[in-house]
């Protein structure tokens, strides 16, 4: 039956040759290669749960009075957007699970994307011929961060209103264009009525389309250029070693899809996220009367918030023209940071003068300077992320937020310097050592001789420990 269907199809379209090649395709196996797959599967979860949410969500700031089943808010005036989000959480069966699954999927989507980026960076997978895919991946990251922010801004709760207010002020801070840009983006002076419907269109149509198209291009390039692989016995720059797509690799990847979905469903059902009914509604004007304590954005925005907090109160003003305070930490700094990230493959090629194609991956120790730079970036990111929650940390440690801020202002320079030096040093040390620092126990073969005695036979050089990337002779168990 299946074969007849396939024949019917092939008669009209052709493609048996392509299908054969696809099924026989070889994929190198390493646990870290699944990170990109996790990103893809989170995106599928986002589309499925997000589509469901659109059936119930009402992107409107029309004023309504809540009369739903959540007692503490009954009789409270709020926007239709916030009420529909409450209704999804309390009135629609499985609605809360879907909403929380959507939020968790977004968090894991960006987390796995970031770790995937780290894997690609530290292994040098972006080197020729894959610079193009690095650029696509970076754009995916930017688009996904933007869409995540838009997503949690839609609910019109007090927390998201605060986030929007900050976004508005950052837009406003751009010299010359700021006021017009901010009014154009938000539809007027904050809090303009246009925000929610506009951001909704961007969140459910424009950016998902961009992300889907980029994901397709990203995967098409992986398909065309074939995956990179780690060095190992029989692995060269010219070949690809692994297992065939069909059936084992496909079964494993589909299994991973179900596992990712399972984790997201478990989080969505069991781990509360963004409880908007606790925050209360954001109502234009009146929202400012609510005393908001510790307000934190989603994790992927935390570093920007941290930069805003650590930046000193400078605001140079000449003849009435100001360089608004948020402009440098919230526009220039992320702009420069992402530009450098975009350009990294080309910068590295220029500095190392290595423009050859690479299909074999580095390990961190094979490129100590690169590893050091990566560690420094991670350190800056980490300090800024911590600074983004300095009020919570200070509260937990029972110290003044002021002293923590001062500490972070020092750390944001000190930590990357230390991380760079330390990582580079460790990588250089490791590079001088045998291929695998932990290669299992030393083994010896003991042979009984014809006379009944025992003799130790010297082990031949272990093939599995040999690597083309290291000149040192392999030995076992040394560290």
């Amino acid at each position: 039956m299946l074969l007849r269907l396939l024949r019917w199809f092939d008669d009209r379209v052709g493609g048996a040759r392509f299908g054969r090649q696809a099924l026989d395709r070889i994929f190198p196996d390493h646990w870290s290669f699944m990170l990109g797959e996790v990103v893809l599967y989170c995106f599928i979860s986002l589309v499925v749960t997000g589509t469901y949410l659109t059936f119930f969500f009402e992107p409107s700031v029309r004023e309504v009075t809540y009369d739903g089943s959540y007692a503490p808010l009954q009789g409270v005036e709020m926007s239709a957007a916030y009420r529909s989000a409450l209704d999804i959480s309390f009135e629609h069966r499985a609605g809360l699970v879907m909403r929380q699954m959507h939020h968790w999927s977004a968090l894991v989507f960006l987390a796995s994307m970031t770790v995937h980026l780290g894997r690609v960076f530290f292994t040098g997978a972006y080197r020729r011929p894959r610079e193009l895919n690095w650029l696509i991946g970076m754009t995916l990251l930017v688009a996904s961060i933007a869409n995540g922010f838009l997503g949690y801004s839609l609910l019109d709760d007090l927390l998201s209103g605060t986030g929007l207010r900050v976004a508005y002020a950052i837009t406003l801070s751009i010299p010359l264009l700021g006021p017009d840009l901010a009014f154009g983006l938000f539809g007027g002076e904050f809090p303009a009525e246009g925000i929610i419907p506009r951001f909704y269109t961007l969140h459910v149509l424009v950016l998902p389309a961009v992300i889907a198209a980029l994901l397709a291009a990203h995967l098409a390039l992986v398909w065309r250029q074939k995956h990179t692989q780690f060095a190992g016995p029989g692995r060269t720059e010219e070949n690809i070693v692994g297992s065939r797509l069909w059936p084992a690799y496909a079964a494993k990847s589909v299994g991973l899809f179900f596992l990712v979905m399972a984790v997201l469903a478990g989080l969505g059902g069991l781990a509360q996220i963004n409880p908007i009914w606790v925050y209360g509604p954001f109502r234009s004007g009146l929202a400012v009367t609510a005393v908001t304590s510790a307000s934190q954005p989603d994790w992927y925005m935390g570093w920007l918030d941290g930069a805003l907090r650590l930046w000193p109160d400078w605001e140079p003003t000449v003849a009435g023209y100001a360089l608004p305070n948020p402009f440098l930490p919230a526009v220039v700094f992320p702009g420069v940071f992402f530009t450098l990230l975009y350009l990294w493959p080309f910068l590295e090629a220029r500095f190392t003068r290595d423009r050859r194609p690479h299909n074999l991956l580095d390990r961190a120790r094979d490129a100590p300077t690169r590893a050091g730079v990566g560690a420094a970036v991670a350190a800056v990111y980490g300090v800024l992320f911590l600074a983004g929650s300095n009020d919570v940390t200070a509260g937990a440690l029972n110290i003044a937020p002021e002293s923590l801020t001062t500490l972070y202002r020092v750390l944001v320079f000190l930590a990357p310097a230390v991380a760079f030096a330390l990582t580079r040093r460790i990588c250089r040390e490791l590079g001088r050592r045998p291929v695998r620092p932990v290669a299992g126990m030393p083994t010896h073969t003991i042979v009984r001789t014809a006379t009944g005695g025992y003799e130790t036979v010297p082990e031949p050089e272990s093939a599995s420990a040999a690597s083309s990337s290291s000149s040192s002779s392999s030995s076992s168990g040394e560290l």
Partner: protein, 275 residues
């Protein structure tokens, strides 16, 4: 490695969880059960498939050649020759010039709707709804008198009749007038009632936390701290300017009123704020 029996158990658990999900749903739904059962239903399939795949893998790795990515010399030349058929266009320079003109002005025209996305800021960023004589009313609509607040008290007010105007949000704090420092305009203080814009000069969060013992206002977003006694001078944090002070007075009926709008734009800085 999961045995074939284990794979079977995983699939069976998944099937049962799926049925359980239907039962929970019919009974009215319950988020924790839904999440847990969905997790088992999905996870059973996932674990089973991965277990099965590992059984199938065995030890053998297979090897293929990688394709040479760059095209050979011949196809590149052929492509270039095909591409150069575009000479038919460049032979008619006048026409291509006009086409470029048409495309360019169309692109320019496509930019015009961008202007419609929002009103021109004009003076909107420099004004609030406060007028000379506006009474100070709370969220509940109550007008404030000079003795409405106890010493150390704080309340958020709006100009009467315009409670929805975000940028007009103002905090009134009652302090001991003898403590006031030079930064404060004492003419605008009525019986120790002092009013500041509630919109933080950093990125516009509501400055909502008042530490009475230190007489300081704290922004919950980025911890900018303002000294209430000294013209809301910035004591700590990234805010670049003090909070503007609202000129306060009293009308003939004894209610607190504004003597006019804020003397300077409230909220975060924009580039030509000082002009």
């Amino acid at each position: 490695m999961i045995s074939y029996r284990g794979i079977g158990v995983a699939f069976a658990a998944s099937g049962l969880a799926g049925l359980g999900l239907a039962v929970v749903y019919i009974l009215g739904g319950q988020p924790q059960w839904e999440g847990a059962l969905l997790m088992v239903a999905l996870g059973g399939i996932g674990l089973g498939l991965i277990g099965w795949a590992k059984q199938l893998y065995g030890d053998s790795e297979e090897t293929d050649e990688r394709p040479v990515l760059p095209s050979a010399y011949e196809p590149r030349i052929d492509f270039r020759q095909s591409l150069e058929r575009s000479e038919v266009f460049s032979r008619r320079r006048g026409l291509t010039g006009l086409l470029a003109f048409a495309g360019g002005s169309l692109a320019l025209a496509a930019l015009f709707p961008l202007r419609s996305l929002g009103p021109s800021p004009g003076g909107a960023l420099r004004r609030t709804a406060w007028r000379r004589g506006s009474r100070l009313v709370t969220e509940g609509g109550q007008a404030l008198r000079a003795d409405s607040l106890n010493r150390g008290g704080i309340v958020t007010v709006f100009p009467e009749g315009t409670e929805a105007h975000e940028d007009a949000a103002t905090v009134v704090i009652s302090v001991d007038p003898t403590l006031l420092a030079d930064g404060t305009n004492a003419d605008w203080v009525v019986d120790g009632n002092i009013a500041y814009s509630k919109i933080c000069t950093h990125v516009g969060c509501p400055v909502g936390l008042y530490r009475e013992s230190e007489h300081s206002l704290l922004c919950p977003c980025h911890q900018s701290t303002f000294d209430v006694l000294d013209g809301a001078r910035v004591v700590f944090g990234p805010a670049p300017r003090p909070l503007p002070q609202l000129p306060l007075g009293v009308d003939e009926e004894g209610y607190l009123i504004a003597l006019g709008d804020y003397p300077e734009p409230v909220g975060p800085t924009f580039w030509n704020r000082g002009r």
